[in-house]
Symmetry: C2
Subunit: 303 residues, 2 copies
């Protein structure tokens, strides 16, 4: 089977490649990304997916069985700064791929990744059937991608499966994200290199899933889902950021001095974002295998 | 008051300009369109709104009080042929205008035009509060525009008012649309220049509003609506295409031979699209003034 991974150098992309190499030893793995050098041992090409011609050319060259479309600019903050660019980097890139598959008549399954952000504000665990209320340009772009995915299945008979993915965490995550930022700071505090832990609002509740469970979910979705289905990919558990700080502090055996940094407070932040993962568990037999304590310890040890 | 009309040479644009010239004699009217020559007597500039820099430049030069954003490529059929272009011509163009207003700090009200297509399939008169189920790329693009409009009001404090507009008809409409096509053919039949009326599915029911009532609704919305409101712009009445053919045939005193042309049958066509106009009537005192018979007669006489 030929796999094409877009965003191959991204946080999830690298883990997905490792998962494939481990679990499907005869998989032919092709990766593309916007960056020059590949971070994995696969067939790699630098491609700008916002360029339709380049996208078509690589699709036609590889003609994959599966496209695992992980390339995205998934920052809510950036989407406020340049909403048009957010549409270009998400919706238009997706359309370039989907139109390429359609026009080149490639028989393949596409994994289209969406976001928990599509739900908007619910303070109860969110199920796939809920009405969506996007609250930022990024989630409007993701919602458009989901609508378009369904239309491409219905009218062009493409084979697309979809997710609404919640927060991911794990080793090697960019410290611009909240949990690796906390861990990086707490490790420095434990070594005496830093005095205080700088935080934003740590009373918000989020649903964190280990990236290794994320790629296992994605693999099960592309292998076993029916066409046109959408699955929440989440732990199903809400955790307060404050409790994560406490867990890591205990693991490091420190009592950090916590300082609220006004710059880290986001306007209109949603207090609780928790998903319901009943559907993927029941239909695809997926189960998360990493506890939050194990994940956090791995992040401390592996960075 | 300075008005900037985008799509000034379009079907609705020209009527809006005529309405303004008649009803607000001291209005300063600026029009832009992608075409070279202006069809009205106003300040005109050829601008490609998909070009961000050109859009910003014209916005900064005019700094209007109202932007009546009528420029669009509102073809469902074309959106299936090139969905990415549909997003560029609708969503991205809207974002260029909204970002221009935001970044240049222009104090103005924007009219954002949406479509009945956003509702998807309902066989009852559609009210503004219904859950939206877009069924083609065009309606996904329009729905994105509506979501983005609301976000720009909520977070950037822009002053945007919105519509979901149903089918328009009236004199000077392009005969690629169904009603002017029928009338053009029926007039030819009445003159003996054509033998048969070629039709698609004439049992579909649509909600047709005279374009002169449309621009009256748009004017009342920009003048009297609260920020962030969405209004259906429609007649509130469902009419079967077959009945329109009968009315026009009676007006022309002919009994046409009707032939179904398979090329005119659209796949997955929605059987009934009718809007509820209670909200705009009640809140803004708008009422349609043209009966369908009057509109059809005007189309026969004026072309």
């Amino acid at each position: 089977m030929k796999y094409l991974i877009t965003g191959a150098n991204g946080f999830v992309g690298r883990y997905f490649i490792e998962y494939l190499q481990k679990n499907e030893s005869n998989a032919e793995i092709y990766g593309i990304d916007i960056t020059e050098n590949c971070l994995s041992d696969i067939n790699y090409r630098q491609v700008d997916l916002s360029d339709r011609f380049s996208t078509y050319r690589i699709l036609d060259e590889i003609r994959p069985d599966y496209i695992v479309h992980l390339a995205a600019v998934s920052s809510v903050a950036q989407s406020w700064q340049d909403p048009a660019k957010c549409f270009l980097n998400n919706t238009s890139v997706f359309l370039n791929i989907a139109d390429g598959v359609r026009e080149l008549g490639i028989k393949c399954r596409i994994l289209s990744v969406g976001s928990s952000e599509e739900y908007g504000i619910y303070d109860i665990p969110m199920e796939e059937g809920f009405v969506l209320h996007p609250k930022n340009p990024y989630s409007v772009a993701r919602l458009s991608q989901e609508y378009l995915s369904k239309l491409y299945v219905d009218y062009f008979k493409l084979d697309i499966v979809m997710t609404r993915s919640f927060n991911h965490i794990g080793p090697r995550q960019n410290p611009k994200f909240v949990i690796p930022s906390f861990i990086q700071q707490l490790v420095k505090i434990s070594k005496g290199e830093q005095n205080e832990l700088k935080v934003g609002n740590i009373d918000v509740v989020r649903d964190f899933l280990d990236v290794r469970d994320v790629v296992d979910a994605y693999y099960k979705i592309i292998k076993h889902s029916k066409t046109r289905e959408v699955y929440n990919v989440c732990s199903g558990k809400g955790v307060k950021l404050r409790d994560i700080i406490n867990t890591v502090s205990k693991q490091l055996n420190i009592t950090p001095n916590i300082i609220v940094d006004e710059e880290r407070i986001r306007p209109n932040e949603i207090m609780s974002v928790v998903g319901d993962n009943t559907k993927i568990k029941k239909e695809l037999g997926w189960e998360p295998r990493y506890t939050i304590e194990k994940t956090l310890m791995d992040m401390i040890v592996k960075g």
